[in-house]
């Protein structure tokens, strides 16, 4: 039998210790170590519209960004607050329909509808989900999954808000560059905002709710209140995506409440690396284009799609970003035993 003669040793890069706080400004090397990964992401995202070959693919970029917003909201809720949300479709639907109503019935421009839909939509979603917030366990997932299904049937049955045809004639962004850069900037804004948030004191409270909600109660804080704040933040991301989506498609319909919006962000989070907030964005950058490429296979694409997912879960279950961060922050070498 072959006995393992060596093992992998992992060492933290010494430089990492000093790149926290003000010390990072002391040398170019440390400064670049810190800023390079962020710059790559920011510059990469900003140049995306230029490197896309056709208008069709430029449209795909916008869709990627909307899914990225949803995936971030999932990752934020699941890994920093401990709420597994299947409510992506709810957020998109509420945000989308609100923007559509404000635009077509009241004639507001996208400049107004999107911020209002974000804030009001997030409020509505939070109210919807409020009853299950004091509970622990799977209830939040079930309830957040149920709402989009129920809302779609309500719109269908009562034939309100355009019924099955949806609301048409919604104003577009006017210019496809404006459209793309708007969603890209929103993704970057929410990404760095959320990363900052989870390390603030209130972010620590969110993480504490995930770790141990009873201890938070014993510290004199209402877990329902803090969960509601977190759901508001997460659904604001989703509603912003939904509002942008209806202005991109110039149409709002029942398909906004489709389960794709709930499931694909979760898949993207698994692939990208849960708990990193950047990972889900990367996951969307990979998954959504693949899903577009596979369109040629018709309904078979879901099979390929599943295979990719399974492969990722089996071979790299930690996700790309967690793997990448480890490689970036640590030396790895083989040592003889």
């Amino acid at each position: 039998m072959n006995i393992e003669q060596r093992r992998k040793e992992r060492l933290d890069r010494g430089i990492k210790v000093r790149t926290d706080g003000l010390y990072a400004l002391m040398s170019w090397r440390e400064l670049s170590y810190l800023t390079l990964p962020r710059l790559v992401l920011i510059v990469g995202m900003l140049t995306l519209p230029f490197i896309m070959p056709s208008m069709y693919w430029q449209r795909v970029i916008s869709i990627v960004c909307i899914y990225a917003l949803l995936a971030m909201s999932f990752d934020f809720l699941a890994h920093f607050v401990g709420l597994v949300s299947l409510g992506g479709a709810l957020f998109i639907g509420v945000g989308g329909y609100l923007a559509a109503i404000m635009n077509t019935y009241f004639g507001m421009p996208p400049l107004l509808t999107i911020p209002i839909a974000t804030v009001v939509g997030a409020g509505i979603c939070t109210l919807f989900l409020l009853p299950c917030l004091p509970l622990r366990g799977v209830y939040f997932a079930i309830v957040s999954l149920m709402y989009p299904l129920a809302l779609a049937r309500v719109i269908e049955a009562l034939d309100i808000l355009g019924g099955t045809d949806g609301i048409m004639g919604i104003e577009s962004f006017g210019n496809r560059w404006v459209e793309q850069y708007f969603v890209i900037l929103m993704v970057l804004l929410f990404l760095f905002g959320a990363r900052r948030l989870v390390n603030l004191d209130i972010g620590l409270v969110f993480r504490a709710v995930k770790d141990n909600d009873q201890a938070v109660r014993a510290s004199g804080m209402s877990i329902t209140f803090y969960k509601a704040v977190a759901v508001f933040i997460a659904s604001a991301m989703g509603c912003m995506g939904g509002a942008s989506l209806v202005h991109i498609y110039m149409w709002s319909g029942i398909s906004l409440l489709a389960l794709d919006f709930s499931i694909l962000p979760i898949a993207a989070t698994v692939i990208g690396g849960a708990g990193t907030l950047v990972g889900p964005v990367l996951g969307c950058l990979i998954l959504v284009p693949i899903s577009e490429l596979l369109r040629a296979f018709g309904t078979l694409r879901i099979v390929f799609y599943s295979l990719i997912l399974v492969a990722f879960i089996v071979f790299r279950s930690e996700g790309i970003m967690v793997y990448g961060q480890r490689k970036y922050h640590q030396f790895e070498r083989w040592v003889k035993i």
């Binding site: 620590l204 770790d211 938070v216 004199g220």
Partner: protein, 262 residues
């Protein structure tokens, strides 16, 4: 000790379906007093504490804090009034460093009002205040213990962390649920002066405990529970001498031996 009890528990009963876990327990506790609650396993000690702190609703009975009825209020409201508790099974925030564990209670409305432990109504930087509390409670700052992730710490520190979480709120009453259990003799020995110091600082303590020797040393009065009912309430000497306690609580002739150790 003033004449007005700080906490009055009146005829508190808690039934889980047909099982009556706590049956009409009544006791008072005065300011700056240490009350020990003892009893065999399953005698309803923790359930009683859960009722007092609002973690479960009482079936009947009343809990008064400074004469004000607090029965049925949510747990965070009761903690906000200054009645804090530790958990029997420690509940630190495992993924956070120790001092960040204290940022959470320091973020609460009560800590903002009171300024946290030792704070004179003004709360400084939460990280610093947290580290100060930890140092006072026995985390050696020099060995970087306060900066370690909570999941890497041994039980002794986690028990202290539970206590620190209560202290961060600047509490009036701390209810310690088996704070000595799982600790080594030396860890207990260093914990006892800490408890005594808290009493001197004006905190009222309720201690549920199985370590009788240490408990009898620190507490002013002892309450004995059995099958959810109060057996006796009195000073440690009275309780030790009581025949009913020996019979009900310790059971057999072994009682003599146990009590002589305590």
């Amino acid at each position: 000790m003033s004449n007005q009890p700080i906490l009055q528990v009146q005829e508190v009963t808690k039934a889980f379906g047909g099982v009556i876990a706590v049956n009409g327990v009544t006791f008072d506790i005065f300011e700056k007093e240490i009350l020990g609650i003892i009893g065999p396993n399953g005698s309803g000690k923790t359930t009683l504490i859960n009722c007092v702190t609002g973690f479960i609703n009482v079936t009947s009975g009343k809990v008064l804090f400074r004469g004000k009825n607090i029965t049925g209020r949510p747990a965070h409201k009761i903690a906000d009034m200054g009645i804090t508790r530790t958990f029997q099974i420690m509940r630190p925030y495992y993924s956070l460093p120790c001092y960040k564990n204290l940022v959470i209670p320091l973020f609460s409305p009560r800590a903002k009002r009171t300024g946290g432990w030792r704070g004179g109504g003004k709360l400084g930087d939460r990280d610093t205040v947290g580290i100060d509390i930890l140092e006072e409670i026995g985390f050696e700052r020099d060995s970087f213990v306060p900066y370690k992730i909570a999941s890497t710490l041994p039980t002794g520190y986690l028990k202290r962390l539970e206590l620190a979480r209560c202290l961060a709120l600047k509490p009036e009453i701390i209810i310690c649920d088996e704070i000595f259990s799982g600790l080594s003799m030396s860890e207990i020995a260093s914990m006892v002066p800490l408890i005594e110091r808290l009493q001197m600082d004006g905190i009222t303590l309720i201690m549920i405990e199985h370590r009788l020797r240490e408990l009898f040393r620190v507490s002013n009065r002892i309450l004995v529970l059995n099958f959810g009912e109060k057996v006796i309430e009195g000073t440690p000497e009275e309780v030790m001498a009581d025949e009913k306690v020996k019979e009900v609580y310790f059971g057999s002739e072994k009682a003599e031996e146990v009590m002589s150790h305590a």
